[in-house]
């Protein structure tokens, strides 16, 4: 079965970013396919590579990147939500005249149409958030 997962909550906020990550792992372990993970609202903060939690804490953003690399996941960050929160890739930073970018490996910035497409192309759309 084909899944799209929507994540609306940032890492270390409450629990939904962790739940979404563990759900994604379980979906793949069950042999299903993940068509896309779409990050919206504060969920876009799952896609920064500059987060440095204490050494004994989990690094949620890196876990997404590693899962994406291992399974070829398409991790999409909503552009409008990302711009509000200072989440940039190199192209977007250049376009905005900013001096840095912070997007984590495996993530890409795109629009809400990617969520709509995920809903159409997938058998299930499961939403995690606040």
């Amino acid at each position: 079965m084909k899944y799209t997962i929507m994540v609306n909550e940032g890492p270390y906020q409450h629990q939904s970013a962790d739940t979404a990550l563990q759900f994604a792992r379980a979906v793949l372990e069950k042999g299903h396919e993940i068509f896309r993970v779409f990050f919206y609202h504060d969920g876009v903060n799952n896609g920064t590579r500059l987060s440095v939690p204490p050494a004994d804490d989990r690094l949620i953003q890196k876990s997404w990147s590693e899962l994406a690399e291992k399974h070829g996941l398409d991790l999409v960050i909503c552009i409008a939500a990302a711009q509000r929160r200072g989440l940039m890739d190199a192209d977007e930073a250049k376009r905005q005249g900013l001096d840095a970018n912070n997007i984590a490996p495996g993530f890409r910035i795109s629009g809400l149409g990617q969520l709509v497409e995920g809903g159409i192309q997938s058998d299930r759309l499961v939403v995690f958030g606040d």
Binding site: M1, Y3, N8, H14, Q15, S16, T19, Q22, F23, R25, A26, V27, E29, K30, H32, D123, R124, L125, V126, V127, F128, G129, D130
Partner: protein
Amino acid sequence: MSMLHIVNKSPFERVAFESCLAHAKAGDSILMIEDAVVGAVDGSSFSGKVKAAMSDKTVYVLGADLAARGLEGKVMDGIVSVDYAGFVDLTANNDTTQSWL
């Protein structure tokens, strides 16, 4: 058409759980995750509403979130504990899912 209702907030914090119970139809499934797992505890002021829902719906709880809050063994009879693999099965076996955020 069966629907899986996913609830993640305590019924004592928000009305989302109560709204879910009011909207879920016979034959639907309800899964408590994150802070919503306190809704599975027997003898609370909310447990009667969950028991009433169990007359025609199946109610599940995510075992890991229950254990993280020390609530195992306090769950009312009839609620089914699932792991993440069981969570995935619930999403696959129901036609649609609704997250009550």
